[in-house]
Symmetry: C2
Subunit: 271 residues, 2 copies
């Protein structure tokens, strides 16, 4: 059996009782390590599970799927995912491959930022399409996500912005070499995201009719589900000066009109 | 401390390790019982936790908040919610009241249908606004949710439809009496939801420009996260004849154009 198990958002104790029981009796355990992170180091997970944990980077998951799935018809293999298993496309792909190879698959759900973001007090029902904000480079500054954000805003919907993560990304120079070299890990902060959004806004100003502006209400969230979780509500402009500390961060652009209960709840996070 | 703890979607073992540890040392434990249900009966929870569990119906949660929060400054009170704590507005309200009374609040997240719906293979990022489909009566047939659904469809977004639940609803006749009488619990099935949607479609046919039709792809989900989970993909028309068995059900109206990976994943659920 191939088990895909969500670990939730905080530390090693955010796994479910069901998930833990399964992991403890698995023959091999992989931890997906490139779409999100837990606050617990792998050694802590290994000790808690009583199992060796193999860290699976993007290369292994996307190109070494057969290695991960090997023997899963007879043995029990666990593939651990921070958050919920269906958060990222590559996991769906892995599940599909397993099923196509005649391997039985069982998914153990857990909290994902897609639902836990409700902790900011905005109702989950009134979120529109989720967007991902990528890191810009000198020569590559994509802004196509902005249009989705503007549509949500115009329709009075909140937008969850997932912020870019770069873990074990090969350096441009080493791409053609035999021995790859990796960049240090990067996690986009709400401050960086706000700055990029402001730059896009400045450029679009005259064409954008959504009403989204530098003064629009944003909510910055850091380390949701951890003991040191932080939530800040302020204008987009102000968010560009906010420091929420360690990763992971995400940013919510609130709809222009809040429900009274949303408004009341968000007040506690105002700076 | 007032703990609001998500129990996830399946049975008593879907609580997180962290959540379970907290429940076991709480002085009072409440289980919210009117926005969702677990497959485990309360007695099973009590045995697993080693704690008495008080079932909290809508009346207690919405009017008896002070009873629930009593003593929470000195004692530890757990309020258990099926799914994630931020799934329903009334829980947000309870948390807000606690904070306003100077009571410390800690939330333990878990899976919610809002993210677990990803198990149908449609990407969570491309869901639009969530809608709730209410039970119709002879004289009350609200259809305002349809407009949101049509907007999502037009914007090539999926729609999660949450289906009505009626638990411990007083009968109309007993509303004015001293002793309330309650209707038997009702959980809307995907079949009932599809029938209501078809009725609305028939009525709007000439005015609706979204392209949504009787032939549009729907996905019916039942008991997500349980061992007997079932998922069916078919047209809206066909869904009106589908029987997915016991509650809870939810219905997804897929966007008109699927991503190739979504399409491939959904194939396995086709009837």
């Amino acid at each position: 059996m191939f088990y895909v198990i969500g670990l939730g958002l905080g530390d090693y104790k955010d796994v479910t009782v069901k998930g833990l029981e399964i992991i403890k009796q698995c023959d091999r355990v992989y931890l997906e390590s490139y779409t999100s992170i837990l606050s617990s180091p792998t050694s802590e997970l290994e000790e808690f599970y009583g199992r060796k944990v193999t860290v699976a980077d993007r290369e292994l998951v996307e190109q070494g799927a057969s290695e991960i799935l090997e023997g899963a018809k007879e043995q029990n293999i666990a593939f651990l995912v921070v958050g919920d298993p269906f958060g990222a496309t590559t996991h769906t792909d892995l599940i599909l491959r397993a099923k196509q190879s005649g391997i039985k698959v069982k998914v153990i759900h857990n909290a994902s930022i897609m639902n836990a973001v409700g902790c900011c007090g905005l109702q989950l029902y009134t979120f529109g399409e989720t967007v991902s904000i990528p890191y810009w480079t000198e020569s590559w500054k994509p802004d196509s996500f902005f249009e989705k954000l503007a549509i949500n805003f115009k329709n009075n919907l909140h937008t969850l912005c997932l912020l870019d993560i770069k873990v074990k990304e090969p350096t441009l120079e080493s791409l053609t070499k035999k021995k790859k070299e990796y960049m240090p890990p990067l996690f986009m902060s709400v401050r960086e995201a706000a700055k990029q959004l402001l730059e896009i806004l400045d450029k679009k100003m005259s064409n954008d009719t959504s009403g989204l502006s530098r003064k629009s209400l944003c909510i910055g969230l850091a380390r949701v589900g951890c003991d040191d979780e932080r939530i800040i509500a302020c204008s987009l402009e102000e968010m560009a000066d906010v420091d929420l500390g360690k990763p992971l961060h995400c940013l919510v652009i609130a709809a222009p009109k809040l429900h009274p209960l949303e408004d009341e709840y968000v007040q506690q996070f105002r700076i």
